[in-house]
């Protein structure tokens, strides 16, 4: 009776492929894109420079940590850092973040357009020019590519082949993230891969669970069929 089982298995394989075949193809195509594209490239490592600036050895800020703390008593954390080539303090408190010059004590934040562009250009490693600077303040105008990052943010666009966008925080002056065409395609592929078409983040969604279950049965039925296919033909005349 094995040939009848093979017959049934072939029918199931055929019909399950009709239900899940297109999604399986999408998994293969999106998976292929994600493994073929170098991850560092997708992350945009080639777009940035000056990401590990240090503070000059022996530097003593004119404004001390105690001074900053006196001016911002509600702070949770105060960070002395190198901000586009000069020493600055970043101050984080429940009310928000601030950027303060470590030499003059002047507050730089919130960053204006010129400062935001300066940050972007300081970290930009390619040859494109700034083509647009937009302050994103409310959720309605926030593109999905910033994911869960908090607003407000400056979006600085460059006129290069990858349509690079840098996102700069007007509060602490840091480069929050960078995006380019291949990242955007990767993100789209990821969305297709995990089948969360809204947030592109939830790998536990039921659609994915059901589809993966069907995909698994499709491949197991396929393996089963292989076993029949490669069994030696017997009793042929």
């Amino acid at each position: 009776m094995t040939r009848m089982i093979a017959f049934r298995v072939r029918q199931w394989h055929k019909w399950v492929s009709l239900i899940i075949g297109a999604q399986a193809m999408i998994w293969l195509a999106s998976g292929l894109y994600m493994v073929v594209m170098n991850l560092d490239f997708i992350h945009g490592d080639h777009l940035v420079r000056n990401m590990s600036d240090t503070i000059s050895s022996g530097y003593e800020p004119r404004i001390t940590f105690s001074d900053v703390l006196a001016g911002h008593p509600d702070a949770n954390e105060i960070v002395l850092t190198n901000w586009i080539g000069k020493p600055f303090y970043r101050i984080y408190s429940p009310a928000g973040a601030h950027l303060v010059n470590a030499e003059t004590g002047n507050e730089q934040s919130p960053l204006g357009e010129a400062d935001a562009i300066s940050v972007a250009r300081y970290h930009y490693a390619r040859s494109g020019e700034v083509s647009a600077a937009t302050l994103l303040e409310n959720d309605a105008e926030a593109p999905s590519e910033i994911q869960s990052r908090k607003l407000p943010l400056w979006r600085i666009d460059f006129s290069d082949a990858g349509s690079t966008s840098f996102y700069v925080s007007p509060d602490d002056g840091s480069l929050i993230t960078r995006r380019h065409t291949y990242w955007r395609v990767f993100d789209f592929a990821w969305m297709l891969h995990i089948m969360d078409y809204k947030e592109r983040a939830d790998v536990n969604n039921n659609l994915l669970r059901i589809a993966a279950g069907l995909g698994l049965s499709l491949s197991i039925l396929g393996l089963w069929l292989l076993w029949f296919s490669f069994k030696r033909r017997q009793g042929d005349r």
Binding site: I55, A75, V79, R209, S219
Partner: protein, 613 residues
């Protein structure tokens, strides 16, 4: 074209189907494992926001120094109730007390305290381990760390940085399972992090074609009526009449079949399993039946069945649906075949590589001359040294390079034509079996299993047979008959000649053109000569193809198809009125069929038995 796509689908499936199943399995596993448990968030204590520095303001007395370690940042925050500076340097991070300026050492007790305050589950701390170099669990972190184990059911481990006291990771069995699935998914079995590794890239590239070929196969696999769900629903209780007819017009059976299932499935359901080795894929061609010639021809039919047979209604049963009342013509014997246990009466070599097996059946077999039987070869093991063969055969076996040991682990079936005519030997039957040795240039291949097994049988041994089968029969009219045959193809021809001339005393002209290699290969010589003496309408002609110039042989030399053409058919006055019956090894059969075709003999005047083995 579809054949290539189907082959590609099958072979890629063989190479990487298992990996595809692993991708699906690991993907499903990762989709099922809840993410908050995998990340350990569910055991994380609900801390207030990082404590404000305000209460410790007066303690911030020490001013940190930017030393020459390439310091990137100095962060002032609270840690364990005290203000601290975290020095973020290129070569690693460190903590200083903001009041005294003394380095803070994260020792075991402190790490345990940090882990305990981070943890909210029911477990207790069972162990603290110092991890000097990063393990897989903290592969994204650089510094040494403390691993604090909890004895909860999911075996939580909290990793505390030995440099900064920060909680690096919260790991548990959910994560460990997830991480194994992730490893299988991205095929990086060492570091579990690089999904650009060549193995996964190549696999994805190849399996991509598995998917593409699968989608192309949809067009070949689905028919429009597969999607006619309304009709299916409406017809769910309907039954159609399927009538089965033997190819000889007898033994009609009729039964009701469910519509819209394949003919193959309907037949199987009614207890008439057709032969098949592909399981309904339309790729083995064994389930052919004859139905109405108007039935549309599918691509699979076209691949498996020759044009002339398509025209007369042969189709693959697995490729056609029962959608109207159908009349199916089965190969002769399929409905009436019986299974017997026969007893060997004698086994005798009648040519250097062919022996005659005489088998007694429990009752006479009703068959038509030209039929064949199926013989069961049970699992067995044997060796040349155990065989009782004539010395010439043994030498030939050794000279051909055929492997000496042979056998099978699973039962096999082989078919052999009956060499006797109906009623000739009472309830005994006669088979001519050619011992299939290796060809000269294929040294080491095994002997033909069926022929070797049967050669081991001796008088009194039993063998299981099923039959009779076959459509190779002499047409019942008064036409002239030309038999052309050779090798083991002599069997059905002997049966037919004996039946027509001895049993039925046929009076029309009958000639037999017999091709053999050498004089030793000519079998049943005396019998044919005896028939010639008694039947003036019969003649037989032997041509030998493998003689040396010096061999003494006064008869015809050369290939039988050339001899019959030059010496008979080319000058035949009315070749269109002859009927041709052909049986022999595949190359001979092919040559004869080409010859008859070139002489303009129509296909319905030719019957042949193809037993290419």
């Amino acid at each position: 074209m579809m054949g290539i796509v189907r082959q590609a689908h099958k072979w890629i499936g063989l190479v990487l189907g298992f990996q595809l199943a692993l991708w699906m399995l690991s993907g499903l596993g990762m989709a099922i494992l809840p993410h908050d448990k995998v990340s350990g968030e569910h055991r994380k204590a609900e801390h207030a926001e990082t404590a404000s520095l305000e209460s410790t303001r007066d303690q911030v007395r020490f001013l940190p120094e930017v030393d020459d370690r390439a310091v990137r940042q100095i962060r002032l925050r609270t840690f364990n109730g005290r203000p601290v500076y975290e020095i973020v340097a290129t070569d690693g991070n460190s903590l200083l007390d903001a009041e005294t300026g003394r380095p803070i050492v994260i020792d075991e007790a402190l790490a345990i305290e940090i882990a305990r305050s981070d943890y909210s589950g029911p477990g207790r701390i069972s162990k603290a381990i110092y991890v000097a170099t990063p393990t897989l669990a903290i592969r994204n972190h650089a510094a040494p760390a403390w691993r604090i184990n909890f004895n909860d059911p999911e075996r939580t481990s909290i990793y505390v940085s030995a440099a900064t006291g920060q909680v690096l990771e919260r790991r548990n069995h959910y994560w460990r399972t997830f991480d194994t699935l992730w490893m299988l998914h991205i095929m990086d079995y060492q570091n579990r992090s690089n999904f650009n590794n060549p193995l996964v890239v190549i696999s994805a590239l190849v399996v991509f074609w598995l998917g593409l070929s699968g989608i192309v196969l949809w067009w070949d696999s689905f028919r429009r009526h597969d999607f006619n769900l309304v009709a299916k629903w409406r017809n769910r209780k309907k039954r159609l009449t399927l009538s089965l007819t033997d190819s000889e017009g007898g033994a009609v059976r009729a039964f009701d079949a469910k519509p819209q299932q394949s003919l193959y499935a309907a037949m199987e359901e009614q207890g008439y399993p057709l032969p098949s080795s592909c399981g309904g894929g339309g790729t083995c061609g064994l389930c052919r039946v004859r139905i109405s010639p108007e039935t549309p021809i599918t691509p699979a039919d076209r691949r498996q069945i020759p044009e002339s047979e398509l025209d007369s209604g042969y189709r693959l049963a697995c490729q056609h649906r029962v959608d109207t009342a159908l009349s199916v013509i089965l190969p002769h014997g399929l409905l009436d075949a019986k299974t017997f246990t026969g007893t060997i009466v004698s086994s005798e070599f009648i040519a250097p590589d062919m022996y005659e097996l005489r088998i007694a059946l429990p009752e006479p077999l009703a068959f038509r001359a030209g039929s064949y039987v199926q013989v069961e070869i049970p699992p067995f093991r044997s060796h040349l040294d155990q065989l009782d063969l004539p010395d010439t055969v043994r030498r030939q076996w050794q000279a051909s390079g055929t492997a000496k040991a042979f056998g099978t682990d699973t039962p096999l079936h082989r078919t052999y034509s009956l060499a006797n005519s109906p009623g000739e030997l009472g309830s005994d039957i006669l088979l001519n079996i050619r011992l299939a040795l290796a060809k000269p240039d294929t040294s080491g291949v095994p002997v033909g299993i069926g022929s070797a097994y049967l050669s081991t049988l001796r008088q009194g041994d039993t063998v299981r047979l099923r039959g009779p089968f076959g459509d190779f029969h002499v047409y019942d009219d008064g036409a002239e008959i030309v038999f052309i045959g050779g090798g083991a193809g002599i069997a059905p021809i002997r049966s037919m000649i004996h039946d027509q001339l001895v049993s039925r005393s046929r009076t029309s002209k009958v000639s037999f053109w017999y091709g053999a290699r050498t004089q030793e290969d000519i079998v049943y010589k005396e019998e044919f000569e005896h028939i010639v003496d008694n039947c003036p309408n019969f003649s037989w002609h032997v041509a030998l193809s493998h003689l040396n110039e010096t061999d003494a042989w006064t008869g015809k030399r050369g290939w039988i198809h050339e001899i019959v053409r030059d010496q008979y058919l080319a000058s035949h006055p009315d070749i269109a009125q002859c009927r041709f019956y052909v049986c022999g090894p595949p190359p001979m059969l092919e040559a004869v069929l080409m010859l008859l075709n070139s002489l303009g003999v129509s296909e319905e005047r030719i019957a042949f038995d193809d037993f290419g083995n």
